[in-house]
Amino acid sequence: MNLKKKKILVTGGAGFLGQHVVRRLLEKGIKEQNILVPRIENYDLRLIENCEKVVKGQNLVIHLAGLTGGIEYHKQNPATIFYDNLMMGIQLMEAARKAEVEKFITIGSATEYPENAPLPFRESDLWRGFPEPIHAPYTVAKKMLLVQAQAYRKQYDFNAIHLLMTNMYGPGEKLDSSFVIPSLIRRIWQAEKENQNFIEIWGTGKPTRDFLYVGDAAEGIIKAAESYNKPEPVNIGSGWEISIKELTGIIVRLMNFKGEVRFDETKPDGQMRRMMDTTRAEQEFDFKASTDFEVGLKKAIGWYIPKIEKLFQK
């Protein structure tokens, strides 16, 4: 699919990932007036009539809108998270199909994988077990979009695909994000501010994670929009992993923090490894994350620090 002349709806287009997708589309030469980003104040996508309004006249839908948050938020709001994500997604796809949209991209995440899936996560293992219970309402709601995409392809020949994103980092993230990279940046910044000569990190630092630069994630989504048209889900990851200890070391160095890093080994480590297999994305639509980790981290830090400084001054 050549995107140049297409009318593109990007739900969640003002969010962390969404901003980067919109920017990449513009860089590719898509005209601003061909991109529609519905604002939540005007379009509550939990209601079918709003879904019908926003898909009208569109050729491609990239559905990034979602309700999520940190662990605490997931623990306290499982019903809201399930209902809102499910209803937004399934009604938007139904409306898009009826409005004869040509292609629909649904976005899921690595949390859709079973808690005990073998590593690295392969798409073929997606259904082999229950996800981490705290994330189940979110992940099952998102996973239903994969089921719907496959069902619609079969019955209506509707071109809907499903992508699974790993942990993303980079400019534009929520300032209070509880994900590992922004919270490390925040804590080091705070330690420096308070002249504290150490930071403390939960666990042994040994668990590993894969991190994907958000600009690369956007690139992966757009490549899939251009050239992936099959029912099977596809991982969008970086293809490498790093331990929390090494990650902390790099951020400490990039932020020029001279204090000590203490690991509180009495605290839990969480899952020991988490990483996606990225073969399918490379085979199917030639996607490989290209941003060097230090380059990406520098951009994230460079964006983050002035924002928290400003917040702090208020």
Binding site: A79, T80, I81, I90, P137, M144, V147, Q150, A151, K154
Partner: protein, 315 residues
């Protein structure tokens, strides 16, 4: 929970299982005027506003409305099966919670179990793998309601329970060949062969697959017992605990209907899931439910009902 003075909404109450559930409720002494069955012509439960209207002033919701069919229908209409069942269920639970309903009974299906699961199927194995492909979209839409049920209990304290009935049969079932399940399909085939004086019938698959069948009035009894007594988040199987191969099932139906012709197997057609049988111990432990109708007795009644109602029931 004493159901006698409760206002009870039964979606799908005009359907096969629904009519048996209403029968059981009436037998238990629930007055007819307390039972509300929204008609499809007036309420489209895929629409949120109709769900809201339907649940208003109700105390219990038994959500039986579903779009279902046999293997052929499942293969042709996976999109509709997914969407209609998903959107109806999700909105009914949401609307019921918002309207202050006291208890919501949601129904899953044996189709939600993984294709390959050790028999008997135990509730804790529900998420171990992908369901059988021909009914996966339907099965997964229903299974997602279990997550919704648990999420609403956890966030709002809303009493939603989730039951997983096995394949049902009995009077009132659909014998319409485009959407009927295996027992009515076979009864109709044999009846047609007898009527047309044919000496054979054609049957899909190899006959090797096994199934478990629950007599619909027994299923209704299980649902009503769970409504009265079960208030936990774990899903519960409703089954008869008996497994039969399709081959033996046909032999039995032929015998009960006095058909002596040949059975021709069309092995180019799918068998569906290889084996199906539920572990029914949780239902017995938690709310004292055990199916009591024997298979032969249930089949005899179903055949008799079909022969008396052939015209209307064939769609």
């Amino acid at each position: 929970m004493d159901l006698k003075d409760k206002k009870i909404l039964i979606t799908g109450g005009g359907g096969f299982l629904g009519s048996h559930v209403i029968q059981k409720l009436l037998e238990k002494g629930v007055p007819q005027e307390n039972i509300f069955v929204p008609r499809q012509s007036e309420y489209d439960l895929r629409k949120l506003e109709d769900c809201k209207k339907a649940v208003s002033n109700q105390q219990i919701v038994i959500h039986l409305a579903a779009k279902v069919g046999g293997i052929g229908f499942n293969q042709e209409k996976p999109g509709e099966l997914f969407y209609d069942n998903m959107v109806m269920g999700a909105q009914m639970i949401e609307a019921a919670y918002r309207a202050g309903v006291q208890k919501f009974v949601a129904l899953g299906t044996v189709c939600a179990y993984p294709k390959f699961t050790s028999t008997p199927f135990k509730e804790e194995n529900l998420w171990n793998d992908y369901p059988e492909e021909t009914n996966a979209h339907y099965g997964l839409a229903k299974k997602a309601l279990l997550i919704q049920a648990q999420a609403y209990r956890s966030q709002y304290g809303f009493n939603v329970i989730f039951l997983l009935p096995v394949n049902l049969y009995g009077s009132g079932d659909s014998f319409d060949p485009t959407r009927s399940h295996v027992i009515p399909a076979l009864i109709k085939k044999v009846a047609d062969a007898i009527k047309n004086k044919e000496d054979y019938i054609n049957v899909w698959g190899t006959g090797q697959a096994t199934r478990e069948f629950l007599y619909a009035p027994d299923a209704a009894e299980g649902i009503v017992l769970a409504t009265e007594k079960y208030d936990k988040s774990d899903p519960v199987n409703l089954g008869s605990g008996q497994e039969i191969s399709i081959k033996n099932l046909i032999a039995l139906i032929c015998r009960l209907m006095g058909f002596k012709g040949e059975i021709r197997w069309d092995i180019s057609k799918p068998d569906g899931q290889p084996r199906r049988m539920l572990d029914t111990s949780r239902a017995e432990q938690e709310f004292d439910f055990k199916a009591k109708t024997s298979f032969v007795e249930g089949l005899k009644k179903t055949i008799k009902w079909y022969l008396q109602n052939q015209e209307e029931s064939s769609g």
